[in-house]
Structure formats: C-alpha cells, structure tokens
Amino acid sequence: MDGTGDAQQMSNSVLGARSLGKTFANGSVVALEGATFDIRPGSFVSLVGPSGCGKSTLLRLIAGLIERTSGQVSVHGTDVSGPRTDVAMMFQKATLLDWRTAIENVLLPTEMARSVTKDDQKHAAELLKLVGLEEFLFAFPSQLSGGMQQRVALARLLQTGADVLLLDEPFGALDEFTRERLNVELMRIVGEVKATTLFVTHNIAEAIFLADQVFVMTPRPGRIAATIDVPFERPRPLSLQTSPEFNTLVAEVRDVLGDDH
C-alpha cells in the first residue's frame, strides 16, 4: 500500500477506510477484515451480505461506537476516534423514547449539543412533515405504527444535521409494502438533503435499486468481496426492478455471494 497516495486520497473523500479490521473475543472472531474504500460525496452506497458478514460492525466502526483493531477509518479527512456530529446512525429498531412525543424525539440530537430554540422546533416540525408525519407531531411512539415509528427515527436522523448517514437495516422489521414505500421516500429525502448514505440490507434487489454503488460482503472473515457500480439514473421507477439490465446486476451480486445466499 502506497502510504502517501492513500492518505491524500482519503483526505479528499467523505468517508474512507484502509485495511479496516475488527476482531472480537481476543481476536478469535474476525468480524471485519481489510476493508478499503472511498465513498464519493453525496453518493448512496448499499452494503449487502449474509448474516454475520460484518455489516453492522463496519457501520459501528464508522459511527465511532466501537474501536477498530486494525487499519484506518476517516470522515471528512479526519480520523474517527469516537461518536461525532457529522455522522449519524439509524437502527433496525426505531429506538424512540416512549415518554416523548414524536417532535420531542426528533429534537433529542439537538438537546445533546445545546438548548433547544424555537427555530430548532420549527426545523423538527418540518422534518416530520418531510417524512409524512405532519399530523402526528404530538403523538407518542406507542400510538404510532411500526412504519410511522421508523419515519420518526428518520426525521431524528436528519435533525442531527450530519451529512454522513449510516442506516443499519432501517426498515428490516417492517412489512414488504411499507418497506418499499419507505425506501422510495428515503431515496428522495437523502437526495434532497444531499447526504452521503451507507445503507445495510439483506435484500439484493433493494440494495441495487437504492444505490449508486453496492458493497458485496462475505462472512468468515467478514470482508468486502466486491464493489459494484449501479449506473441507472434517478429518479428510478419501481418498474426498473423488472428490467434485464437490473437483473444482470442482481446476478452479478449473487455470483459474488456464491451458494450461501
């Protein structure tokens, strides 16, 4: 690896990694090994792969929630050494606070940094409108459906103001219809806010449909086995998924994953 060239390259990318690795249980579990990539500003990258291939581990390394055991990872050219304000993460569960209304949940990230102003409140209300919940600003989480709860979590993610968004199977627990709708909305929204997005999924078609680039990951040890560019222009209609070009890409991803997917 050419040290100076890589360092140069990394400082220009929004999000980059060099030989990034993470082991658990004193090195006996290799959750992630040798991850090297650079992500273009404003692009949407899907991470796809079977259970246990290190998708969540990679996201949590980038979010600064866990410490790497080898390699480098940087955001906006600076080394990731802990949670930071320009990176935000969304989880499979909505993880809302039951004792707060939707808008109060959205305001949580702001409260962590400073006291909430009227403008912050207005912004949070606008974000809830953006995710289609303008009628439910003052509903409590248990009064909302699973899909609506994830919308609140999405608004909260955007409220952080971070321009690197990490989404770990954000709609994985929802039904097919709700998931498809939310995926389309997610594409629109991250396009609007011009964020760089890393999106984890088990679903190959979903990974391709949403992304500019797909990282295909394989387990034991967890690694990025291939990076596949997705050339389709946006906005993309749902019918894209039945086109021959789309299915060629699906076959390509399947090929990398081998028999166990």
């Binding site: 949670p83 989880f91 606070l97 409590f140």
Partner: protein, 286 residues
C-alpha cells in the same frame, strides 16, 4: 429481580365500573351485611367475636364523633407511615440508583441483597427496639426497614436494565453521562420505581401496625389491641375498617400519582399530555 414489572396497566377497582355492575355489587354487599346482622341477632354468630354491623356502625360514631378519641391515634399512625415511608423510600431509591451505576459495588452487594430478600424484615423489629428504645425513632426504623426493599430493588433493576438499543442511540449522539442519566435512565426506570413505591407504601402501613402492636403506646395498632383486650370488638372492627379505607385511599392515591408521572403507559395519559404539549407548541409558534 424486580418486585414488580411496572409495565402491566394498573388494575382499577370500584369507581370506574359500569353502573349495572356497581348496582350488583351494592346489592351483594347489602345482602352479606344483612346476613351478618341477622346471624348475629339470631345467635348463629358469637356476638362477642362477630359484633353486629349495626354495633360497628355505632362504634364508628362513638370513636369518631362522640368520644373523638380515634383522631389522635389516627394522626399518630399516619404520621409514622409518612415519615417512615419517605425516609425508607428515599434511602431505597438512592441506594438502588447508586448501586445500579457501580457495576463493581453491584457485584459485591448482590449476596447481601439475596440474604436480605430471604429474611422476613419484620423479624428484625424487636432488635431495632432493643437498639433504639421505645418511642418514635424505633417505630420509624421498623417502617423504613419494611419499605426500603421494594424501591431499592426496583430502582436497581430499572437502572441496570436500561435498554441496550437506546444506550447505543445515546452513545451515537455523543451523549454525556449526565445526559444519559437524566434523559434516558431515570425516565425509563420511573414506572418501575413507582411500582416499588406503591408496594412500599402498603408495606409502611403494615409496618406501622406491627410497631404499634409491639409498643402499645399510641396509634391505631395499639387502639385495636386495647379494644380487643377489653372485648370491645365493635370498636376494634371500626378501627380495622378505618384501615381498610386508608389502604384503599393509599392505593388509589398512588395509582393517581403513578398515572401522572408515568403518563405514557395509558391511552388517557398520552392523550392528556399530548394535547397539552400541542397547545404549548402552537402557543409558542403562533
């Protein structure tokens, strides 16, 4: 480890029942009281131990109005219950939170918690009297002892069992320790802590009675003892029913407070608070 989960919605008795059911209950109650009265008059029930309801009613009038002697004892008992409950539950919640936040302390304190849990707390009452002498301090100590445990255990488990997912969310937002405590741990533990407080207050009443049974100087407990000794069962029953009413009021009062504090566990609570916050927001934003 929790004494109560604090999750299941509080059961409601009385007042919220539909009118038909309430009527049925009233009829059944009157029939039972009537049978008791008739049984007592006809000599099926020993009137010495089972005084007639009409006599109990007269005793109520006697001790509350004519003699008015019960008030002094009632205040004494309620004062004890209040002092012991407040002291015991503050100690319980405080220690529970402290132990909950210190994994090391937790590990070493666990055996003692198990031992304490297995020992009937009341058994220690005579020792406390021996150590503190007769009078209010030892009585309050007994009440503290019986109502310390539920808040302690519930606070401890509430703090320890804070949701992993939410903790990770707070970490990803770069939350500090105090923010995690104030905005996550305490609110999340609140319903469980309140469930502990409910148990503690009920235990405090029993604790006060035991303390008064032992010391026999003042309070409803000693009054019951004296009336029973003098074979004045009607007045003893009047005292007991007084405690029934107090117990019921305590239960409902705690339920009311619980619904205010942990409002998000009931539909009505969420509707109330949601509306209030919406109004406040619209007021602030025109």
């Amino acid at each position: 480890m929790a004494v109560s989960d604090g999750i299941s919605p509080p059961r409601r008795i009385g007042l919220t029942m539909p009118r038909r059911r309430l009527l049925t209950h009233a009829v059944i109650f009157l029939v039972l009281v009537g049978l008791w009265e008739i049984g007592s008059r006809a000599g099926w029930l020993d009137p010495l131990f089972y005084p007639r309801p009409s006599n109990i009613l007269r005793s109520f009038w006697l001790i509350y109005v004519q003699n008015g002697n019960v008030w002094f004892h009632l205040y004494a008992t309620l004062g004890l219950v209040f002092a012991g409950f407040v002291a015991g539950s503050i100690l319980g919640v405080g220690l529970g939170a402290l132990v909950g936040f210190q994994p090391l302390v937790r590990r070493f304190i666990k055996p003692y918690v198990i031992v304490l849990e297995a020992t009937p707390r009341i058994a220690v009452a005579p020792l406390l009297i021996a150590a503190l002498g007769f009078g209010a301090p030892s009585k309050i100590a007994i009440i503290m002892l019986v109502c310390f445990f539920a808040p302690f255990i519930n606070t401890l488990s509430g703090v320890v069992n804070v949701s992993e997912d939410r903790l990770e969310l707070f970490n990803s937002l770069g939350a500090g320790k105090m923010q995690v405590l104030r905005k996550l741990v305490l609110p999340e533990a609140l319903p469980v802590i309140m469930a502990g407080e409910r148990l503690a207050l009920t235990a405090a009443l029993s604790g006060a009675l035991v303390a008064e049974f032992i010391q026999r100087d003042q309070g409803i407990g000693s009054l019951i003892l004296i009336y029973t000794r003098n074979l004045n069962m009607a007045s003893a029953f009047a005292c007991i029913f007084t405690l029934t009413i107090i117990g019921f009021l305590i239960f409902r009062g705690m339920e009311w407070i619980d619904n205010r504090i942990a409002f998000w566990n009931t539909e009505a609570g969420m509707a109330r608070v949601g509306t209030k916050r919406a109004l406040a927001f619209r007021g602030a934003h025109g």
